[in-house]
């Protein structure tokens, strides 16, 4: 219900924008992330960028933002779909300083390039690494994934 309100408000502000609800998340086009985020922060009082992460869907990448509005008690899941051959998205660092480290972490583990980020370095893994560990196709000689559980009866 609340997410519908947010969607409607964004639609009223940007009539030409394709804003969809998928599951419990709001999906906005990549090109308009910055203006939607600015609108969310300044006019719908989402003053807290709680978490930034990504989900590797194998054929595409989802950048996921959890924005929180303390005054309205709404946690909004904002998603941007990125094609695998163009993993770039605008940084939201200027809107929410907390996005700085969170975006660095997302870059470190998924390889999403946040454009205009002030300090886009790896945060956990060694600087000289070239691969991105949380991607589903991650391979290393010393990393052997456990076989997926088959599910015991009971």
């Amino acid at each position: 219900m609340l997410i519908n309100d947010t969607q409607k408000k964004i639609k009223d502000k940007f009539p030409s924008l394709a804003v969809e609800i998928v599951g419990s998340a709001l999906v906005v086009p990549k090109s308009s992330l910055l203006e939607v985020a600015t609108f969310l922060k300044n006019e719908l009082s989402f003053e807290n960028c709680h978490s930034v992460t990504a989900v590797d869907r194998k054929d595409k990448m989802e950048a996921v933002y959890h924005l929180y509005s303390t005054s309205n008690h709404i946690m909004l899941t904002l998603k941007v779909i990125l094609p695998m051959d163009d993993l770039t998205v605008e940084s939201l660092y200027l809107l929410w300083p907390s996005a700085n480290w969170l975006e660095r972490e997302t870059f470190d583990f998924f390889g999403i390039k946040f454009l205009h980020h002030p300090d886009l370095r790896r945060i956990m893994n060694p600087d000289e690494w070239t691969d991105y560990p949380l991607r589903k196709d991650f391979k290393r000689d010393d990393f052997i994934p456990r076989p997926q559980s088959t599910g015991l009866k009971g």
Partner: protein, 363 residues
């Protein structure tokens, strides 16, 4: 203007609370710039979660914030329960509140003790705090057979009921701890040296705290009355009468004081909860192995702030993706802004008052 000097503080340094490496640019004693380097304790918990069933991942959450393992167990289990729409019996909910608050007390005691240690109050406050914490740790040992990594909260309930007589032990502890808190106040709170070291050091404004998504006692010390237990109650927190402790200035002393006050509030919650534990069976009836679909994001109020679990399930026995939003990570990100212009000894004070745990920052 003297010569600029780069000093590496950590990763092996007693006051960095684990393996944190701070690259400090100094002019004499004054910190000009600070670049934190993380990852020395990185174990890739999120990748591990993708390779385990939902139940198998619970023991790993113990190793996130290892001073508040019960709270981590609880946060993860609540997120999975939200994904599965599982109802938990009232008895399990009350017991969960009690163990979560006991662990909050234990965690805050460590924070208070180590903070005083960082300020040069060598050993005495630390040993006071640790001997109090020991009582809680021993109680948890009775509950689940482990002193540090509990694995007690399960999806859909708890791993077992409390042994008979536990309520007596907890009541005795509460009585004892109230007496101890008076002593902490006399020993530290208004101690002249302690005040001189921590008052007006590292002031974190309300605006800066919110901009950096700081949470927990640090946010409240900056004067923001925000506590998930009060503002978005989960479990049965809405049934208890307790106050949200806030500071006024947002300096290191306020952060210490908020933690000390929160111990009292946690004891009040436990006092009320223990009188009202309903009868029933708290043991989980959910199958150990199950499939999940959908997404859930859930946050709980941990001793260090808001711990969030973002679970994505695609019908398999394992989570497809498990993102852990750890409070210390965001709390630490504000450190460079806080310690610029301070003396190096005050930087240690600010870092101690932030009360970080590297286990949940590096994950």
């Amino acid at each position: 203007m003297g010569e600029e000097l780069i000093v590496n503080m950590g990763p092996q340094h007693p006051s960095t609370h684990g393996v944190l490496y701070l690259e400090l640019k100094l002019d004499g004693e004054v910190v000009l710039d600070c670049v934190p380097h993380l990852g020395y304790l990185h174990r890739s918990m999120e990748k591990i979660a993708e390779n385990r069933t939902y139940t198998q991942f619970i023991p790993f959450t113990d190793r996130l914030d290892y001073l508040a393992s019960m709270n981590n167990n609880l946060g993860y289990c609540l997120a999975v329960e939200k994904l599965l729409n599982v109802e938990v019996t009232p008895r399990a909910q009350y017991l969960r509140v009690i163990i979560a608050e006991l662990n909050r007390v234990a965690s805050h005691l460590v924070a208070i003790g180590t903070f005083a240690q960082d300020l040069g109050a060598y050993a005495t406050p630390l040993f006071y705090a640790f001997s109090d914490r020991e009582k809680i740790v021993e109680l948890f040992d009775e509950l689940c057979g482990s002193r540090l990594t509990y694995n007690y909260v399960r999806i859909g309930g708890l791993s077992g009921d409390i042994p008979p007589g536990t309520d007596k032990v907890i009541k005795d502890f509460i009585k004892y701890e109230y007496k101890q808190l008076v002593e902490y106040n006399e020993l530290l709170t208004h101690n002249v040296i302690f005040l001189a070291r921590s008052k007006n050091i590292g002031i974190l404004s309300k605006e800066l705290a919110q901009a950096y998504s700081v949470s927990g006692p640090i946010l409240r010390a900056s004067g923001v009355r925000w506590d998930l237990r009060k503002d978005e109650p989960y479990l049965v927190y809405d049934k208890f009468d307790f106050d949200v402790c806030v500071g006024t200035v947002g300096d290191s002393w306020d952060r210490f004081k908020v933690r000390l006050d929160e111990v009292t509030q946690s004891l009040r919650i436990i006092e009320q909860a223990i009188e009202a534990i309903p009868e029933g069976n708290p043991v989980s009836k959910v199958n150990r192995v199950f499939r999940g679909t959908g997404e859930s994001y859930l946050r709980t109020e941990n001793p260090r702030g808001e711990l969030g679990f973002y679970l994505v399930a695609e019908g398999g026995f394992n989570p497809y993706r498990c993102k852990i939003r750890s409070p210390s990570f965001s709390n630490l990100s504000v450190l460079p802004a806080l310690i610029k212009g301070l003396n190096i000894s005050d930087a240690v004070c600010v870092l101690g008052s932030l009360d970080i745990v590297m286990g949940e920052i590096d994950r």
